[in-house]
Symmetry: C2
Subunit: 297 residues, 2 copies
């Protein structure tokens, strides 16, 4: 199985179409990398790029896009409603296929080293964090760009790479490996939000449920249903089918059935592979049996 890594950098510019296009072209020029999505947000004044490919190619694209973005954006002029620390605000690496977390962490470290050498303070987060209080992005971002000069003087917030000197033009960048998250909603055939609340407590980690499940309840007034809205934060260790079947038997206690589910956005093929293995009882099923897989470059 080929190794596939995804990167989803967020940059602090969501209005200047020419600038966004220049950054996109820098990514496109890296061979072996596929730029999948560009999502500019004018209110947030922020753009998210999504690209993927083999790890070394994605690392190369991330370096190239970092150089281009920090050359073009001047943070002293940036305004927007979304919290941010720098021009390349976050550079997440997500292992999609055939990779261990530690390999993605290693890539993020190589990126961080490179970015630090450009004179920009770098913080590692999530699986690449160097200490527990740096795991959470909001934690690192507290104080934002405007608070950086002070933060960089705090002994607790010395950067992981690069110097602690404030860089007014580029700010700071957060990078690291994080697991692909699957957003999974389960609709219940009832209007009783209390039943959804009980199920939320049954499945989510903070109330004694599955370790890699975050969940909340949502009334769906128009449909006359309630929803259990789930973030699956590690689908290999807490798989989708297990959460779905748990919801099914907990709902049955109230005489309630599942009306349907939604997978919101993207998911890796290996999550689909596990669904097929479980429900077909096809224990040896492999994604490589899928004809179209032969076309993946």
């Amino acid at each position: 199985m080929k190794k596939i890594l995804m990167s989803i950098p967020n940059i602090s510019e969501g209005r200047d179409q020419n600038l966004i296009e220049e950054v996109a072209n820098a990514i496109r020029q890296v061979e072996g990398v596929k730029l999948v999505e560009i999502s500019p947000d004018a209110d947030h004044n922020r753009t998210v790029f999504t690209y993927l490919g083999e790890p070394e190619r994605v690392l190369e694209a991330s370096k190239v896009m970092f150089l281009k973005t920090t050359a073009l954006i001047d943070m002293t002029k940036h305004k927007g409603s979304h919290p941010r620390l720098g021009a390349v605000d976050v550079m997440p690496f997500v292992p999609v296929q055939g990779m261990e977390t530690k390999e993605a962490v290693e890539i993020s470290r190589q990126f961080g080293k490179f970015a630090g050498e450009q004179g920009i303070p770098i913080y590692y987060y999530e699986d690449s964090a160097t200490r527990p209080e740096r795991e959470s992005l909001p934690n690192i971002r507290k104080g934002e760009y405007e608070g950086l000069p002070q933060k960089l003087q705090d002994p607790d917030w010395q950067p992981d790479e690069g110097s602690a000197t404030f860089n007014p033009k580029s700010g700071a960048t957060v990078t690291g490996s994080r697991y692909p998250l699957i957003a999974f909603n389960v609709n219940l055939n009832t209007k009783d939000i209390k039943i959804a609340n009980r199920i939320v407590k049954a499945i989510r980690y903070i109330n004694g449920g599955y370790r890699y499940v975050r969940a909340m309840s949502v009334p769906l007034e128009e449909k006359g249903l309630v929803q259990v809205s789930i973030n699956m934060i590690n689908y290999t260790k807490t798989p989708l089918h297990r959460v779905l079947e748990t919801i099914r038997f907990e709902a049955a206690r109230h005489g309630v059935t599942i009306a349907g589910t939604e997978i919101v956005g993207a998911l890796p093929l290996s999550a689909v592979e596990e669904i097929v293995r479980h429900y077909l009882q096809a224990h040896d099923f492999s994604m490589n049996q899928i004809i179209e897989m032969a076309l993946i470059e």
Copy 2:
């Protein structure tokens, strides 16, 4: 969704590695086509090539491989245990993704016309057949290469394309569109072959079961199980989950459970999509949500 067509030509040479490699290279030189597999069989003296891509590219590759193969193989010298009519014995086209059967039939007709113009008699089979008795490949192949001179004089066996003149060097070629077949085995927690036999009769077309199911029972002596071995000949009209759940409730009648299943060989992603939709009740799930799909060229 991109259109993807697969072709799986069988040629009458399975021993001469140089010849096989020359044919493979001819296919590889067609841009936009991926040669996935080459399966030579020395006993049958026959090789199967599998390649896929967008329909026009696959048509082009099939023309190129047809010219190369008919130039290299001399059927007057061919011996092998597998029934065959010609140098390029069969050229099947299989719609894998985003295509209707009629589009694949049209591609096979374009191929047939081209091949006929090279002075080789062409018969259309399966979904491209021009009359019912030509749907079945074994039917067309009856009498084999050696019987061709006589067959071509029979008014009932005039070729669909090309002249009825016997071509000693190349024989004849059968081409057409056929649906992707999924080989699906279901193992039952019993040694009683009679139970497997009853289930086979419950699901297969010839005994009153599902229209697109062929099935037989197989004892698995070593595992102490019996198997229902299934060919799903149209998985969009008779989907896998329906056959599996039917086997489950028919087996339950005897107190027997499903031990496991096997998907043998390849299946199209749209079959996987339907499995996810059914078992997760994710009615709107689309294969385009799978991250790796972005890498398909």
